[in-house]
Symmetry: C2
Subunit: 456 residues, 2 copies
């Protein structure tokens, strides 16, 4: 029997657990769902006899250790900062571990010991990070195996609202953690390489330096740069690539509008607003505008941000009730970012019948036999409803598929790893196709950024 | 005999030490100048028999203690972070202390003990902070003594180049620490109150929200907001004032031009540039611009910042040799702010014959007998040369004057203090007039920001 312990029965497990239960008979699986809330764990078990729910506090060391000791593999679907406690126990009791989170420095530090004990701690096997690594490395390795040399790699991912539920002017709703959306791009300059030149975008220009891309059947998207475009340069073996750019996808027009909040200072999370609790939305706006005894807040804002009266940007603000003098922030000592989140959540929360959408777009530029070529690939996954979301599906299924592969002994790798290896991405990407998670690839003319080698 | 120990013989002592030596005979003073560099200390003594120079490392605890123990009063002209070591010794050996620096939290913590021992640790008695406190409190206390109620207080200070030495398009040269100028406004939102409303300006708008003011005979200036406009609200007793604004003065047009650097990201001090050592100024600029195979860096920048071809902003950049492809940054692992400082220092360093200028401008709005009034006051001090600067004069003389007052027993205050008290500011401001450091005051119509009580 293969005994799997899953920490956390949150919304990102709505595909993972059914997947493992569906495979249960064929692979003789026994699942334990451990959650601080027993009821959640019980619900997640879906009355399966192959599943037991237990109430477990992640900080209860003894209980946690006992639970881990009695299983073969541990999946942590908890918030990333909690993984390390589990990882240390997994080392102690010699169990494999799987997470969908970024490898922290603490996790990375366990690499050698995990390797010595023959354990695989597989991280970053969700969607972003996860499917992005696997889908990119699959193409990059194919190009290399044919003798091609990588020149350019760009990669964009977005968690958006599905076209059929896309009914606001921003073409955006919150499908995951709203806070991350509000503070996106803060905490450091965006750094990347274009045609061998390092480029830096400060926060105040981040949302004005977007790139555009089209996905047939879904129209146009834009991407703004992530902070960390060079993060996987070594992992992907792209040290010689001339262009490396990683970004976040939005519908065209979102970034230009979001930039209004950035320019006003409304996304700042570093200080608290005086009197935020009783502050109306209108007063919130006015706190970022010069004082005037005579002019309206509306005109002050239009002038400050140079918004023409017929600019659609304006209606995007109006649609958020940003100028309401009755609605209040209602949060004590709120930062501007918290206040803005409150305002946005009122309008950008998914309706019960709304569906989300995950989009991913890669560009691979390479040279082969003296010819420069480009391959683009993209993936679109649309959720079923608010429980069976595209996000949950694209995070949970790679975790589940990789888990089974580990239990079957199909991965030879040990240590702390991310899924950039053929032995991992091949079986996972192959099985994901059965669930309609797949990439369309198509050759395009190599664009690069410098077709004629003109000095720039 | 009154024995004074001065730590530090740096450039800010060029007025302080001659002042004390000049007063030496009348007040039976004996000075000791302690510096890590003996030669500097010796030079500062100017061959006076009332002055001895000693080499002293501020971190040599025993020596430091001995030196302090054998004097009556200690002046620290060292960098602010070093004051605390001296202050603790002053407590131990029961000596008064004077500095021109902001009161740190560590210094503040000594207040009660200093008070118990009957010691005065007088800080912030330079120009800004220093003369700003004294000149403001003198007027505020006068208004109050007549029964007036403060409505508005605005205060601006600038360290600039004197009109006769003002010969670049920026109307600016470095007269003090260049680094502080380059990173000015970073590290937090600018917060102030206008007509009872809290206002917040993010960094990316800071240099676009300036106020203007004229000083007769010197023309127009502009001010951008300091981070801390509310810092002295309680100290000044201005809890009920409707408008509080503190700012930094520049010549008109400086801030709009400086904003170009902010928008590009060139003032960022949080990351290092790849290959900064061999990077040309031109490459530095290009690192903040989108890649183009065909367009010039010049046109990309004009387009990015929307600079018309006949806009004087453009010439301000050209005059800095910002587009040079021969000049290099020459600093390893430089942050953008460090690189920008290097570029600016080449053009903004004072020539040997150049003079600096300190300007200060206060606005006091108040209500008396039901009538709203406003008093503006300003001060202009121009340096003699690069040794006898306006900065050194306006920092050193208040320190020296206050020191004599303490030794004469004229201040009854004890504890850690700043010069907001009549017993301090009256004699100091009076004596400063003898050195042509004085304010012109004049009544203006009360402007406030809301003469007609129209909703804003």
């Amino acid at each position: 029997m293969n005994k799997i312990l899953i920490f956390g029965a949150g919304k990102s497990t709505s595909y993972l657990i059914p997947y493992l239960l569906e495979k249960g008979a064929a692979h003789d699986l026994q699942l334990t769902i451990a959650d601080i809330n027993l009821e959640n764990a019980q619900k997640a078990c879906m009355d399966s006899e192959r599943c037991q729910a237990v109430k477990l506090d992640i900080f209860a060391e003894e209980e946690r250790g006992k639970a881990i000791a009695s299983h073969d593999l541990v999946i942590s679907m908890l918030p990333a900062r909690l993984h390390i406690n589990i990882a240390r126990d997994c080392l102690k009791y010699e169990k494999h571990m799987v997470t969908a989170s970024y490898v922290s420095a603490e996790m990375e530090a366990l690499h050698e010991e995990a390797q010595e004990k023959g354990l695989l701690f597989l991280n970053e096997i969700g969607v972003d990070p996860g499917i992005d690594h696997m889908s990119a490395m699959q193409v990059i390795d194919q190009i290399r195996s044919k003798g091609g040399k990588m020149l350019l790699f760009e990669s964009f991912t977005g968690g958006l609202v599905a076209p059929e539920s896309d009914n606001n002017l921003w073409n955006y709703k919150f499908t995951w953690n709203p806070r991350n959306v509000v503070v996106a791009g803060q905490g450091g300059v965006a750094k990347f390489i274009q045609e061998g030149k390092y480029k830096y975008i400060p926060y105040n220009k981040l949302f004005r330096r977007t790139e555009f891309m089209e996905i047939e059947g879904y129209g146009w998207f834009e991407g703004y740069a992530n902070r960390d475009s060079l993060k996987y340069r070594d992992a992907y073996g792209l040290q010689d690539a001339l262009t490396l750019y990683r970004g976040t996808m939005r519908r065209v027009g979102y970034s230009r509008a979001w930039n209004m909040f950035v320019q006003l200072g409304m996304t700042d999370d570093s200080f608290t607003l005086e009197g935020s609790e009783d502050m109306t939305y209108r007063e919130f706006v006015n706190a970022f505008l010069p004082y005037s005894p005579t002019d309206s807040i509306e005109l002050k804002l239009r002038h400050y941000l140079k918004i023409d009266q017929d600019d659609i940007m304006w209606q995007k603000l109006v649609d958020l009730d940003l100028f309401s003098n009755t609605k209040t922030i209602g949060i004590m000592d709120a930062t501007p970012a918290q206040a803005l989140q409150k305002i946005l959540e009122e309008k950008w929360t998914l309706d019960p019948e709304d569906k989300d959408m995950i989009v991913m777009y890669h560009k691979f530029g390479y040279e082969i036999n003296g010819v420069k070529k480009q391959l683009d690939s993209h993936m679109v996954v649309i959720g079923k409803d608010q429980r069976y979301t595209a996000m949950s599906k694209t995070v949970g299924l790679p975790v589940g598929i990789a888990t089974l592969q580990i239990l079957k002994g199909n991965f030879k790798l040990t240590g702390v790893r991310i899924p950039i290896y053929k032995e991992i991405y091949d079986p996972v990407m192959k099985e994901l196709k059965e669930y309609d998670i797949e990439f369309s690839e198509f050759e395009v003319p190599y664009l690069g950024y410098n077709p004629d080698n003109v000095a720039g």
